[in-house]
């Protein structure tokens, strides 16, 4: 069993601080009021218990002044809660104009997000309930710290709710209509995403993670470095993802596979390494080198390998080359696809399971 979590759970957004201030204001006022009532109850129960008193009691019918007092004073206090609460709510419901927009789609039982540049990622859900491809691409919702983000949400089936306790925010995700919420993260770290609106069997597994990162890391993420943040594969929509699709389509995988008897080297972790060359010397495996190796493969052959690779000149555009470089750059140990892997469909594309549903 775990030890007790901290009294105040981590606060990681501007609204979170507003929430805490308001929450503790209400808490203090209510505690004082409640304790006042308890003190009176306790005192009366002790002081006027039978034994110290006889059965004879005074005939007290009430007091208009007291009634008035304990009607008006609580009313004023309660409306102070309302007023402050309305201020916080107004902030929480109105994202700033300059907020970056991210789309989130909820469906039974997973969350999917799409970034402004088209990059898409599954940010959580029940793995038992996903296709193989979806399972592999579970990642996190990566957000930049200290920058407002607007989340526009819609559901594909039933009502969900996108709640982030660390941000002290939640908003229902409805079918057929967009709802929005927004955050201004103030802390880096990883935080829970919960589906807060009951949505069926695996409601409790419709959870995910938000990763708040520094601006530089975030730019790298948006730049398509892809497999950052836990997802095994490059993020759909990123350059690395397109590169991966090309890598499969152009049959690169035929030789550059994870098979120990393959005809070509494994490319995992290649990027940035110093590669010894056949016939002496070494080259840094940077973008230039990789591009050259694709277009003129026999020019510089790595030590221990035969110059058997065909040239892809004319088959790939400069954009394709960038994508391939991004993919190779993102390849981490153990992530080379199998030769038999089909190209994975983009995240959010109708899957076989969801087509069958209607």
């Amino acid at each position: 069993m775990n030890s007790l979590p901290p009294l105040i759970p981590v606060v990681a957004s501007t609204i979170g601080y507003h929430f805490e201030a308001l929450f503790w204001y209400i808490m203090v006022v209510c505690t004082l009021g409640g304790l006042g009532v308890y003190a009176a109850l306790l005192y009366f129960c002790v002081a006027y218990r039978r034994g110290t008193t006889t059965g004879s009691t005074p005939r007290i019918l009430g007091s208009h002044r007291l009634e008035l007092a304990w009607t008006i004073i609580p009313t004023i206090i309660f409306f102070s809660f309302f007023g402050w609460g309305a201020v916080v709510y107004t902030k929480a419901m109105h994202p700033p104009q300059d907020a970056m927009e991210i789309f989130v789609i909820g469906k039974q039982w997973m969350w999917k997000a799409q970034y402004p540049n088209g990059q898409r990622v599954i940010i959580g859900g029940n793995p038992r309930n996903m296709t193989e491809a979806e399972r592999k691409s579970i990642g996190k919702l990566v957000l930049p710290v200290d920058r407002p983000v607007r989340i526009t949400m819609i559901s594909e089936d039933v009502i969900h709710d996108f709640g982030v306790p660390a941000f002290r925010m939640k908003m229902d995700v409805l079918p057929g209509r967009y709802t929005t919420t927004w955050y201004h993260p103030t802390k880096t770290g990883e935080f829970h995403i919960f589906c807060d609106q009951y949505c069926g069997t695996w409601h409790s597994l419709m959870v995910g993670k938000i990763a708040v990162v520094g601006q530089q890391e975030f730019d790298e993420w948006l730049g398509g470095l892809g497999s950052y943040q836990g997802s095994e594969q490059p993020v759909d929509g990123s350059k690395a993802f397109s590169g991966r699709q090309l890598f499969l389509k152009l049959q690169c995988i035929k030789c550059h596979s994870a098979d120990p008897n393959a005809a070509a080297p494994v490319l995992e972790g290649l990027y940035g390494r110093r590669v010894p060359m056949k016939g002496g010397g070494a080259e840094y495996a940077d973008a230039e080198y990789i591009k050259q190796s694709i277009l003129k493969p026999r020019l510089k052959v790595a030590q221990g390998w035969e110059p058997i690779m065909p040239s892809y000149e004319g088959q790939v555009t400069p954009d394709d080359l960038d994508d391939l470089v991004a993919y190779i750059r993102s390849l981490k140990p153990g992530t080379t696809p199998n030769r038999t892997d089909r190209m994975s469909p983009p995240v959010g594309a109708p899957t076989v399971r969801s087509e069958k549903k209607e």
Partner: protein, 122 residues
């Protein structure tokens, strides 16, 4: 309302238990058929007016309100004369009004959402 704490000495004699018939005896008021027929004609006439008004579309976007207003007048006539609200106990009238009032609560508060749902704060 009587003072709940009236002491025994000052207690009012037994009264006010049940607010029953007000001088009509067991049978109560008997309607005159002529009046009922007039009410019937009024309701039918209002209906004809409603159809004519709606079909002509002369009132434009106010048609709906006119239709409902006519409906309300018709229902009032039915309530007052056919349902004898005119001779009803206070509490019966109160019940009828309460039902309308609660319906009003439902409508007004529903509309508070549905009329402003897509409005963005300026």
């Amino acid at each position: 309302m009587a003072n709940p704490h009236t002491t025994p000495a000052t207690a009012t004699p037994p009264a006010a238990g049940h607010d029953t018939h007000g001088g009509h005896g067991v049978i109560g008021h008997v309607d005159s058929p002529g009046l009922l027929f007039v009410v019937f004609l009024v309701v039918i006439g209002l209906f004809a007016a409603n159809v004519a008004m709606s079909t002509s579309g002369a009132l434009g976007k106010y048609t709906l309100f006119a239709q409902l207003a006519i409906g309300a007048v018709q229902a009032t006539f039915v309530g007052l004369y056919f349902m004898h609200l005119r001779h009803g106990d206070k509490v019966v009238v109160l019940t009828a009004l309460a039902s309308v009032f609660w319906m009003g609560i439902l409508f007004v508060l529903f509309m508070s959402d549905y009329m402003t749902r897509n409005r963005v704060m300026g």
